[in-house]
């Protein structure tokens, strides 16, 4: 009997220890030389179903946007779908960032083999530590709060989709609907209790219900205004003081616009060109748009090569000569 009591006592005693962090995995980050990212060390094998939440602790001399990537046993490559955008705040001490990844991204699943953090601006002055934990109400609240304020910057896909603010992976709209419905039910009930007449209760409740809905609408709009202010700031930083040419370069991937300008100077105006590129961007459409009346023609006398040496080799074998080189991997061939 005493033994049973002792075991029970020990079990109860162990529970808080369990909650206090026995069930967590520490991940340290290193910054490989000449790379723009931090990678988790050592390579781990975290069960995504169990360890749903990552707590990042980041000390940063400069804040800015960043992205957390991960690799899983189902998809061992780091890629956009398995990532999460967030914003790093400037701080002298380690600041905590909680993310319930299981709720925020459906690809946090299976075994997580590696995590990577890619700060958009600089890796200098950054120190990162992380812990994978089971979620609890506190971390969920922290994670939801942070997710709510994540900046959804305008992207090419924004023309079709705006996800809008989310909390723990669920659209904020849903929370507002619940809030409005519960409030309306409460208002109607209290009006009914007062008047004992459904028609009167509906009439009295309608006004309050609509006011609540409009208030929630405006509250969500305040959050949207925040993103629009951030968009203005971002565009101001990107475009202010730049010439039209520099702006076009800024909205085109890598140095592609500069390469096109180079090609524009080298190819006779109005002639046709073929274009060799990796199919990861709107290279062809941009070339036609910026170079017109010089235009894409698969059988054209000129071939613009943009980081596609493998494809260019066939043309060189077929007798094409290099007309001009912009830089390594970016050049023009002529028949």
């Amino acid at each position: 009997m005493e033994r049973k009591l002792l075991f029970t006592f020990l079990f109860v005693l162990l529970l808080p220890f369990y909650a206090c962090g026995w069930n967590q995995i520490n991940i340290s980050f290193s910054h490989p030389a000449n790379t723009p990212y931090f990678i988790g060390q050592p390579e781990c094998n975290i069960d995504g179903e169990e360890f749903t939440t990552i707590i990042l602790r980041i000390k940063a001399e400069r804040g800015g946007p960043a992205r957390l990537f991960w690799a899983t046993n189902f998809d061992p490559k780091m890629n956009e779908p398995k990532s999460l955008s967030f914003s790093i705040d400037s701080s002298n001490d380690f600041k905590e960032y909680a993310f319930n990844l299981r709720r925020q991204n459906p690809y946090w699943t299976g075994f997580i083999g590696q995590v990577l953090i890619f700060p958009d601006e600089t890796t200098e002055g950054l120190e990162i530590k992380a812990t994978a934990i089971h979620d609890d109400i506190i971390t969920n609240l922290k994670s939801g709060w942070r997710e709510f304020f994540v900046f959804e910057a305008p992207q090419l896909r924004s023309v079709n989709f705006i996800y809008g603010p989310k909390v723990n992976g669920v659209s904020m709209n849903l929370y507002l609907y619940y809030l409005a419905i519960i409030s309306a039910a409460f208002i109607l009930l209290s009006a009914f209790i007062k008047s004992q007449n459904i028609a009167v209760a509906l009439k009295l409740g309608a006004k309050k219900t609509i006011i609540i809905c409009l208030f929630l609408w405006l509250a969500l709009d305040a959050r949207i205004l925040l993103d629009q202010a951030r968009t203005v700031r971002l565009d101001f930083q990107t475009f202010y003081g730049k010439s039209l040419e520099e702006k076009r370069a800024a909205i085109t991937l890598g140095d592609y616009y500069d390469f096109l300008k180079f090609a524009d100077a080298k190819i006779p105006r109005g002639s046709g060109f073929n274009l060799l590129f990796l199919p990861q961007y709107y290279y062809l459409e941009k070339a036609n748009y910026y170079l017109y009346p010089t235009h894409y023609d698969k059988k054209g006398d000129y071939v613009l090569v943009y980081n596609a040496d493998d494809q260019a080799a066939d043309y060189i074998k077929a007798g094409y000569k290099i007309l001009a080189v912009y830089k390594k991997g970016e050049y023009i061939l002529k028949k």
């Binding site: 989709f161 705006i162 996800y163 609509i210 203005v232 565009d235 017109y292 235009h295 894409y296």
Partner: protein, 468 residues
């Protein structure tokens, strides 16, 4: 600096054209506010000017500034003569000065609307053309027309009709070509001013329409609500044709509703002009024109209009709208421009496609309610619909509701019986389609707001006079 003067002229000229035509249609003073007249003038004038440019191009006349000015002057001469003769070409200064003092609430709303307008203008004018369909289609064609001073009518050429999707109507590219011609060079940053102006036109016409039936604070508040729709605001900052189409359709619908209210035929023709330009802006404008016609038909049935008079009005409505659409249709026929496969209706699949139905419904439901495109507008629409259900038979609530219903039915059917279904599944078009009806959804909410927020007294209480 000189560029800004040129840009000012590039906007002023089509606005003047529109104003002259509008003066012929709406000759009486003070029927529409000056702001509304200006907004309509820009919409009609830019659509009219692009049509003139198109006709010049189709006749193989060089699209240079002088030719465009001469061509538009010839079209402009008769209405200008008429409006000068009848002294209808006026803007009444008194309505600019006679503005009732604003309350704090109204000033806050004005400030919020001003912030949104500033955002749209800043986003447009701070960067050049950025969106995919713009640099692959709309703005590419504008550039090609400008560089070649023509419509590139060689069907075998790589850039026939400017390249891109040749079946897209040319209203927006030709307005851009006009601005390049005035500027004298290709500047894909300054041309974006037109999208800011479309936004201004939308909120002006929308405000005026609400103001006709509600008090000023309600009209201002509703206009602010319109500016809170994230996807609408985003589209006002990019170079696609969906937003201008939405503006033209909204304006045409609002003037049709105004016609129902006033029975003044001038609003009917105004609606027809705007619906015609909508069909000249994007292919989706054609089903929108049909929706207008169905609503008009329902109106005549409900109001028990004499059959001949109703048929005559419907005929004139189609005729006026076709002025803008027919040249492009004839051109398509003459040049054998193939329809997009997505426009081809597959009637034989009506029964085969039954499995699409739940998918279409679920996509509509999800995208309208649980994304960030429309704030919580659709939810509030449902709430307002429930709370105002008894009033729905009144004409001023009935027709906006019918518009929304017909729109959802029409576009749901489109996904059901055309290959546009693939664009529904990958999320490309549904939200952009919904953008077309959103101003009318807000309009429906807005016209109900006054009654919901200041409900008529319960029985037994004295009735207050309703504010006009």
């Amino acid at each position: 600096m000189i560029d800004y003067f040129k840009l000012f002229f590039a906007i002023l000229y089509p606005t003047f054209i529109g104003f002259v035509f509008l003066s012929v249609f709406i000759p009486r003073k003070d029927v529409l506010s000056n702001m509304e007249k200006l907004a309509l003038s820009f919409l009609i004038g830019s659509g009219g000017l692009s049509l003139v440019i198109f006709l010049l191009g189709a006749c193989k006349i060089k699209l240079i500034l002088v030719n465009i000015l001469i061509g538009s002057a010839i079209i402009l001469a008769p209405p200008l003569y008429l409006s000068l003769k009848n002294k209808t070409l006026t803007i009444t200064a008194s309505s600019w000065i006679k503005i009732k003092k604003f309350t704090w609430f109204e000033l806050i709303l004005l400030a919020l609307i001003f912030i949104r307008v500033s955002f749209v203008l800043f986003e447009n004018l701070s960067k050049p053309v950025i969106s995919v369909d713009a640099f692959a289609n709309w703005s590419l064609r504008a550039k090609a027309f400008f560089f070649d001073s023509g419509l590139l009518l060689n069907q075998k050429g790589a850039f026939f009709l400017g390249g891109g999707a040749v079946f897209y109507p040319l209203n927006i590219p030709l307005v851009e070509t006009w601005i390049f011609n005035v500027l004298g060079y290709w500047n894909d940053e300054l041309i974006k001013i037109i999208f800011g102006l479309f936004f201004l036109a939308l909120i002006t016409i929308f405000y005026s329409a609400i103001r006709r039936v509600s008090a000023r604070p309600v009209a201002l508040f509703s206009t602010y609500l319109l500016t809170t729709l994230p996807l609408l605001v985003h589209h006002a900052t990019i170079e696609y044709a969906d937003f201008p189409l939405s503006v033209y359709f909204t304006a045409s619908a609002l003037f049709l509703l105004n016609y129902f209210d006033s029975k003044n035929n001038k609003y009917l023709y105004l609606s027809a002009i705007l619906a015609g330009i909508a069909a000249w802006t994007k292919t989706e404008g054609v089903p929108l024109l049909l929706i207008n016609l169905v609503v008009l038909g329902i109106f005549y049935i409900r109001s028990k209009q004499e059959l001949l008079a109703a048929a005559k009005n419907i005929f004139y409505y189609i005729l006026v709208a076709l002025i803008f659409k027919l040249p492009w249709s004839i051109f398509n026929w003459a040049y054998h421009i193939p329809k997009s496969i997505y426009q081809q209706i597959e009637y034989e699949k009506i029964f085969i496609n039954l499995d699409r139905l739940p998918v279409i419904l679920s996509y509509f439901y999800n995208k309208m309610f649980f994304y960030g495109h429309w704030n919580i507008a659709w939810f509030v629409f449902v709430v307002v619909l429930i709370l105002s259900f008894n009033r729905l038979k009144e004409a001023r609530f009935f027709y906006p509701f019918i518009y929304i219903l017909l729109f959802l039915l029409a576009f749901g059917t489109m996904y059901y019986i055309t290959e546009n279904y693939v664009w529904l599944l990958d999320g490309t078009t549904l939200n952009r389609n919904t953008l077309l009806i959103m101003p009318l959804v807000i309009f429906f909410i807005a016209i109900n707001l006054q009654d919901l927020l200041a409900p008529p007294p319960l029985s037994g209480q004295p009735k207050k006079k309703r504010k006009k």
